[in-house]
Symmetry: C2
Subunit: 340 residues, 2 copies
């Protein structure tokens, strides 16, 4: 099961938590100066270092562009890594929670992604793997600068911690811009994630640490967790503050969204984000009772363009055909779920 | 079973056929000059004349205003008759197909309404009852003017034949105004029916004969049936002419309408007409498969304001509350139908 198919904690407001480490090997150029031979050498070294940890290796050049994009849509690799050329490999373990991109921007990008607010768990999983890498590989490290990375913004811990949040009430109330400002003062960045339109239509945001140098990993985890808990509280209070006539209108809108999700024969991804937003709230409010939060998350990811093509085997040639395929897939997936 | 709960022929385009006879009794004033005593005398005479024909008598003054309006919403009586005061009675037989309003505009308004294009059947049923009235009562008749009626537009046969049609494609194509003009030249009238918004939102129209004097009943039936068959053909050809991308968009719109009908928690009657229009087409086109045409007709009537109150026992005090009650009723009715 992938992270997005599993029930997480705080599922009404938190989609996922992610820890990512950037690492490089001593004695090899960082970035463009690396020859294909040296690149393959690095991939082999990583493969050997991971031996016994049940990692599955994927040669990215053996994948179709669509299969590569589908991995990015599942947040297992970066879109850049999917689109790149040249020697590069993906290693996956623990039901896809742990993944390691060899030769993305850095030689090693190790990430752990888990559902819900689980930064510490994700950190423990990623750090255990990182310890192995440290032990087996000549990881580039400087007493003063910490882990050395291609881009200076990653120096120090080389760690980026991020949480993907679902904030429809804060969005509706217009609080996102000021929230982003407050976060910036704390050294945190807030941005739309999950591709275009996800913030505006889906109310999905990613919050992550901006600073990696001069702070400890523990500081980063603590500050981000505390801040996210604070935001969760605000979002929940705002949702509850909707009462009376406005709550009835919200209920009608949400229930209609379920009807549209189940009955539409064409769905753009923008509309899907917007339905997701209503239904995700509806599940939390008890208005939508026959779809679970994790089913909805899984649907959203499975209905992304490359994912759609990957599991249907169909290659829609026009946006209209893709929208029809998306609607058909969702209808079928929900019918299966409802009859389970 | 009422007429609207039964499957009719040509159900893709025809809702119902109706025959109505206007009759009056010799020796009694037509209209306002009638005293309450004389009015009650007429009601008794009618009751006796109908004896043995299994008519059920309803004293209209014994009904609540809502119950009276609910009868009008089922097209069993006229809205004027529902709203009137003074002695008046309704007689019903044959599962509500036959109904007789005593002391509407005329002393007697006898109607037969049947689903589908069934003018001749409706005529036979109404005429058989009319024969009994002719036999038992001193019906006012003039050799030259035919049946005498309060309003001169009903003189002659005293018969009004009408067909309720569902014409979404002709409406969408903008053909209704020119069709109405052509019908006027044939002595036929076309008008929206089923209350406000039914033409604009529901594409529902009633076509009836304008002239009652100097034409035979047979002529009226023949001309109206022929004309309606002609219109049905035009409507069907236009629906079939929608192909390719436009047909796919129509399919999406229709299927979404089913989702909205099933999931909305508030429905105005205007929106219900509009959903009816999409779903009725969807049933004919095979896009909507788990709702029948007669279920949809019955829903539309059962969701009218007075009908809603009558069968729910609830008296919504605001438009919003009524819209919520309408949505709840429809959801439940469809769930029952789907599980049958």
């Amino acid at each position: 099961m992938a992270w997005y198919q599993v029930k997480g904690n705080n599922e009404d407001t938190v989609i996922s938590s992610r820890i990512r480490f950037a690492r490089n090997l001593q004695g090899y150029p960082f970035g463009k100066g690396l020859s294909p031979e040296k690149a393959n050498e690095i991939i082999s070294m990583i493969e050997q270092a991971l031996e016994g940890l049940d990692f599955l290796k994927t040669d990215m050049n053996a994948l179709s562009p669509t299969a590569a994009r589908a991995l990015a849509e599942q947040h297992l690799i970066s879109p850049n890594f999917a689109a790149a050329t040249g020697p590069r490999a993906l290693f996956r373990a623990d039901g896809k929670s742990l993944s390691l991109m060899a030769l993305e921007e850095d030689h090693i990008r190790l990430q752990c992604i888990l559902p819900g607010l689980s930064l510490y768990d994700a950190y423990r999983l990623a750090a255990a793997c990182d310890d192995r890498l440290d032990e087996k590989l000549p990881i580039a490290f400087d007493e003063e600068l910490g882990y050395l990375t291609r881009c200076p913004t990653n120096l120090g811990t080389g760690m980026r911690a991020s949480v993907m949040l679902f904030l429809p009430a804060l969005t509706d109330a217009g609080y996102i811009p000021s929230l982003a400002e407050q976060l910036a003062k704390l050294g945190l960045t807030m941005r739309g994630t999950f591709g275009e339109g996800s913030a505006a239509h889906g109310a999905l945001y990613q919050i992550s640490n901006q600073v990696t140098l001069g702070v400890s990993e523990e500081d980063i985890l603590h500050k981000l967790t505390e801040t996210v808990e604070n935001i969760i509280g605000k979002e929940r209070r705002l949702r509850k503050a909707v009462t009376g006539e406005a709550a009835l209108l919200r209920e009608d809108r949400i229930s209609r969204a379920e009807g549209t999700l189940r009955y539409a024969r064409r769905l753009t991804s923008e509309e899907l984000f917007s339905l997701y937003r209503d239904l995700k709230q509806g599940i939390a409010l008890g208005i939508v009772t026959d779809i679970t939060s994790e089913t909805l998350n899984a649907l959203l990811i499975a209905a992304m363009p490359a994912m759609l093509t990957e599991h249907s085997g169909e290659h829609p040639q026009t946006p209209a055909a893709r929208d029809a395929l998306r609607a058909k897939f969702i209808k079928q997936a929900l019918e299966v779920k409802t009859h389970e």
